[in-house]
């Protein structure tokens, strides 16, 4: 039998192992999510009694019901949406302008600014909590959503800027020069031509920053003390009491917390598709 070349048997082995590996990876990545879902629908009384089972013998929505009606969760949610949404939009706007200038202009101090921005990414955040608290407290920005937005924006701008810059680098300079000759100022050329070509980049940056701000716990925990300004990661902790952990409700809240992030990515995913610039220049 011919085993070399493209024999059907060999093809099948390749095909099979290819999908096996992808399948293994997907299972590995998604299993925790499945477990989250499973625990969230398991009634409290059988959570410990049934042992480890892939699916509980009986399911319930009461955890969800409790989270949505009896807890502060809807409020935390709203806070998180406000904080993460605003952070994502402000950061992306700042990063777009900064990234563009890094990509296109040569100016004095550029290297220093880039170096400083890189350095900010090197500190463990824990080191910075005390000084940031000290700065925000007299300004009345602790225990407020605005304070969180400012801190998140500051921490996300450097990375977002580098991300945006790499997208701008991929757009030929000729395009905005053509746009300028066609009758735009540089800023108009940036806004009307370059930005619409960088939509995938804008979407990626929005998504990245949104997710980062959505799931941030450390600063939210340290800077916010009142219930009214808590975000959902902080809220999740309220299910951990001194004597027990309400796993069912916690998991239900976790599942609910996935929804906005998923919705956000659904919204932007069509811009994430690359290749929009193909055909702009010879290539």
């Amino acid at each position: 039998m011919n085993v070399s070349g493209n024999s059907p048997a060999r093809k099948l082995v390749y095909w099979g192992s290819h999908y096996l590996m992808i399948g293994a990876f997907v299972v590995f990545a998604l299993f925790p999510l499945y477990w989250l879902l499973k625990v969230s629908v398991t009634p409290n009384d059988i959570l410990y009694t049934e042992g480890v089972r892939m699916w509980p013998s009986r399911t319930t929505w009461e955890n969800y019901f409790f989270v949505l009606t009896q807890s502060n969760f809807p409020h935390y949610f709203l806070n998180s949406v406000i904080v993460a949404g605003t952070t994502a939009i402000v950061t992306t706007m700042v990063a777009a302008v900064t990234g563009y200038s890094f990509s296109r202009f040569a100016f004095r101090g550029k290297v220093i600014i880039v170096a400083l921005m890189l350095i900010t990414q090197m500190f463990p955040l824990v080191m910075l909590i005390a000084p940031i608290f000290k700065i925000l407290a007299p300004l009345g920005l602790t225990d407020s959503l605005t304070g969180l937005i400012i801190v998140y924006t500051a921490f996300n701008v450097p990375f977002a800027t580098f991300l945006m810059q790499s997208f701008f680098d991929g757009i030929p300079k000729d395009l905005e020069e053509a746009a300028m000759i066609d009758g735009n100022t540089r800023f108009q050329a940036f806004r009307r031509i370059i930005l619409s070509l960088t939509l995938p980049g804008v979407a990626a940056t929005l998504g990245f920053v949104f997710t980062a701000a959505w799931s941030e716990l450390l600063f939210a925990l340290m800077l916010v003390s009142s219930e009214s300004a808590s975000t959902f990661p902080v809220g999740l902790l309220s299910f951990v009491s001194k004597f027990s952990v309400d796993f069912g409700q916690m998991m239900a809240a976790g599942v609910l917390a996935l929804i906005p992030a998923c919705a956000f990515f659904l919204l932007i995913q069509r811009y994430l598709v690359q290749g929009l610039t193909a055909g702009a220049v010879k290539g």
Binding site: D174, E177, I181, D182, I193, G279, A280, K282
Partner: protein, 373 residues
Amino acid sequence: MASIEISNAVKSYGAVDVLHGIDLDIQDGEFIVLVGPSGCGKSTLLRMIAGLEDITSGAISIGGMVVNELQPKDRDIAMVFQSYALYPHMSVAENMSYALTLRKTAKEKIADAITNVAEVLGLTALLERRPKALSGGQRQRVAMGRAIVRKPQAFLFDEPLSNLDARLREQMRTEIRKLHRRLGATSVYVTHDQIEAMTMADRIVAMHDGIIQQVGSPVEIYDRPANIFVASFIGSPAMNFLKGAYEIAQNGTAGIRLTDGSFVPVLPARGATANQTVTLGARPEHIAITADENGENGGIPARVELIEPMGLSTLVHVSLADNPVKIFTLDRPDFAVDSFIHIAFDMEKIHVFDTETELRLPPENEPHTAQSA
């Protein structure tokens, strides 16, 4: 349409001058080609006219108005880029109409203009396509169309044909020339391809190291190059250069004694002194093969190194005074490699250059010209 005057334009990046005091007057409706090797400053000069680069000092005026401080959008010029720079998210029609839309031109007028230009350029069937669905040649046409639609004061071309294959390039060359004749638009065309320069230009501006070396009609530049650079850059196959000593005989005739002792008669050169080190410049078509190795026909003996058939012509590579020399012939020679043939230089057509200054020393009987820089 408008004339363009450039006076003493300088461009520096920090301490480095890339353009040294450029002076150039471009007539209304003229087709000017800036030609030179990469890094000679030709593209920078074009971008300064467009307003994409600042002018360090000096002045550029378009249609009699100094435009130094004007933004590109206010200069009323159109530019065709080497990369075409079509907006990828717009259709062909949108690409072409973009500038007019920005100017708030009436919709019907835009539609008319697009229809006309698309017809001229053969783009009518492609108007709804996106640039990525076009071939290189079609994209090039759209880029041209985008410029023409605007009816600007002047057209600027930045190596627009470099990305096309040879056949298409030849075709577009002719087309751009025809378009120019039809529109009569002032055009500045940048290229490093001396054939494009020769075939398209009303006047060629040869540049090197940020300095204009010579301005003149293609024939002028070809027949009377100002210096060794222009002589070597323009013309393909390139001019041959041989070093030697200038000699003047009692009877007033002159010649150059090459390093191997052979003597090439030349017309007496203006400003050349006896025994001065000079460079002889001879285009391949101005050297004749007078006899093969068996002949005794005078001429200078040279060793054959390679025969290169070009179809129409044949290039014979020989070695003379240890220098490679190319000879153009319409014959079909079949010399053996390493055999000796005899060659003669066309005294009326060859050039004498001052080896030190590299400037051409014109024959005494040639009228003075003020073309060289």
